[in-house]
């Protein structure tokens, strides 16, 4: 299973990457929204985990591209901060499947990933 993780905070990106690799996933990473959009088309991942606030294009723009332009049902989890409730609602409106607020438990993230991937099998 291929998971694309988009996050411009290197520490967070590496933390998620190392955890998901340990869980047996094939993980790809991108540091900004523009690169994420390119990699989504190139890799066609089984899941996308994207931060809301990224340079060049936000996580919301990524959700919008996947759902409205590509019309793909790829599961998407949004990473957000505690104070971004309105953004989370927008993400759901655009078609995101789930969200997790920072700081988060990596074990909880894995549970959410598994749940969504199982749902889409």
């Amino acid at each position: 299973m291929k998971i694309l993780v988009a996050e411009d905070n290197v520490m967070l990106l590496k933390t998620i990457e190392l955890k998901l690799i340990k869980e047996g996933y094939e993980v790809f990473t991108t540091p900004d929204g523009r690169e994420t959009m390119k990699e989504i088309i190139r890799l066609r991942p089984d899941m996308i985990i994207a931060d809301v606030m990224m340079p060049y294009a936000s996580g919301l723009e990524v959700v919008s591209m996947v759902r409205q332009q590509l019309k793909w049902k790829t599961p998407i989890i949004i990473l957000s901060a505690m104070e971004q409730e309105e953004v989370i609602l927008n993400a759901f409106d655009l078609g995101a499947d789930d969200y997790i607020t920072k700081p988060f438990s990596l074990n909880e993230l894995v549970i959410r990933v598994k749940r969504l991937l199982n749902r889409n099998i």
Partner: protein, 131 residues
């Protein structure tokens, strides 16, 4: 003189542990924890320099954005005191409170960030010694 500084530093470290690796330990590998801590230590000075530059330029929106990113890292380190200082900085910058207050908060943040770096270096050494 140097000895006194070292003692003071040790005393500070003993008094106030600023982080907790509980969330990082969920990666399930001590080597991974070390790697992530090293990534943080590599990034942390850049964040601090950027914050100081943005404050000097009075670029408050970019200051809030950069603070927000640093808060993400500090949250994963469960560095509650530092997260609280970042909140104060964000709030002060978003309401454009007086410049002196912003400088004061950033100075406190800098002091604690440097202490955190020292503590994390100690933690990396401790974990490496235990491998």
């Amino acid at each position: 003189m140097l000895g006194q500084v070292v003692l003071l530093l040790i005393a500070q470290i003993m008094e106030e542990i600023l982080f907790d690796t509980a969330l990082l330990d969920e990666m399930g590998s001590k080597k991974s924890t070390i790697r992530v801590l090293e990534y943080y230590l590599e990034d942390s000075p850049k964040y601090l320099l950027d914050l100081e530059k943005l404050l000097a330029e009075k670029d408050f929106p970019s200051l809030i954005n950069k603070s927000h990113k640093l808060k993400g890292s500090l949250g994963m380190l469960k560095a509650e005191l530092l997260v609280s200082l970042i909140y104060q900085l964000e709030t002060a910058a978003s309401t454009e409170l007086n410049f002196d207050r912003l400088q004061e908060i950033l100075a406190q943040l800098k002091e604690k960030l440097l202490l955190l770096d020292t503590q994390l270096l100690q933690e990396i050494k401790k974990i490496k010694d235990s491998l």
